[in-house]
């Protein structure tokens, strides 16, 4: 027996799978956005709004839940492609599960549009989409620990949840490229201090983009959509 010093994180293999998936996505030109939040923060409502507002962008949604397909149905009613992923009780999506979901999405739809099929890149998924949203399992803890292979990580925090969440779930705020503060139409009814929330989030992650929005009234959506569009352009260029 010999001793091997590893000092590797338990999820090191996932990180490698995630990097490989990201590289494949770059080749196909589709931007995968991992959307994370607590249950009920408004992920599906926000995505519904984005689908309606970004009509000229080809969007697909992968809904990850422990059970049910209510979210996927809501998305399909809007005319966007969607698949439901059941995580069999797992509290997060990892890179392997995400790659399998992308493949299922590709099989469900004819891969006749876009740049190549993605299979050429070895991915086996469809590149008929500009944007693919992965709606992760509602949970502020575990999804932050697993790199899904997404190009961008976005987290939602809703006003009713409170402005102290950066203090309680620091890793989620560190891992997210953007923080979308949802349900700002309810600010009058809760003691949610936008300034405090923003400074707490920036303390953890100075470069984090912050977008206070209401998917219901449309307030703030324009800035978020501008950022998504410019991220997509950037992704396709590199």
């Amino acid at each position: 027996m010999k001793t091997i010093q590893l000092n590797a994180t338990v999820t090191a293999s996932n990180r490698r799978d995630a990097d490989a998936l990201r590289a494949q996505m770059r080749e196909t030109g589709s931007l995968l956005i991992n959307v994370m939040s607590s249950p009920g923060a408004g992920k599906t409502t926000l995505l519904s709004r984005l689908i309606q507002d970004l009509r000229d962008v080809k969007i697909a949604v992968m809904e990850a839940d422990i059970a049910s397909d209510v979210d996927a149905k809501r998305i399909e009613e809007l005319g966007a492609a969607s698949i439901q992923v059941h995580t069999s009780g797992m509290c997060h999506m990892d890179a392997g599960m995400t790659a399998a979901a992308l493949e299922a999405l590709g099989q469900k739809l004819p891969c006749s549009q876009g740049r190549g099929t993605g299979r050429e890149a070895g991915g086996g998924f469809c590149s008929a989409f500009d944007l693919i949203f992965l709606e992760n399992v509602g949970n502020l803890i575990c999804p932050a620990e697993y790199d899904t292979g997404a190009g961008i990580n976005v987290m939602l925090l809703s006003v009713p949840e409170g402005d102290d969440k950066p203090l309680k779930y620091p890793l989620m705020f560190r891992q997210s490229d953007a923080l979308v503060i949802t349900k700002i139409d309810s600010l009058d009814y809760f003691d949610f201090d936008l300034g405090k929330c923003e400074s707490r989030a920036r303390k953890l992650h100075p470069e984090i983009k912050i977008f206070p929005v209401s998917a219901k009234t449309g307030a703030g959506m324009e800035a978020l959509e501008r950022w998504i569009r410019s991220s997509l352009t950037e992704w396709k260029q590199i």
């Binding site: 001793t3 091997i4 000092n7 590797a8 999820t11 090191a12 797992m90 997060h92 990892d94 102290d164």
Partner: protein, 114 residues
Amino acid sequence: MHEMGIVLHLAKTLDETAEEHQLTAIGKVVLQVGEVSGIMTELFTDAWDYFKLRHPILKDSALVLEIVPAVTWCDNCKQTYETVKYGRTCPHCGSGETWLIQGNECTIKEIEAE
């Protein structure tokens, strides 16, 4: 199911290590687990014992968990304190502007193998 998910990732990372070092059997796996990493050590050990029997290279392995104490830093008074005892509020000055600096990790420190 959180623990079983971690066991699966751990096994995958170990498989890759075994391939890289051309190992045929892993005898001991030493993990550093943070006190507030959210891992229930008893459940984790159970999940490992269940899984290893189904994974030949790990069949005779022993899992050793080293617990890393959780330490929080107070931004206000620039001191550290024990996270588990005092939680989010700094016991020195009462501030809530505090951040965990260690105790959230789950790291494979070393393995014994042949």
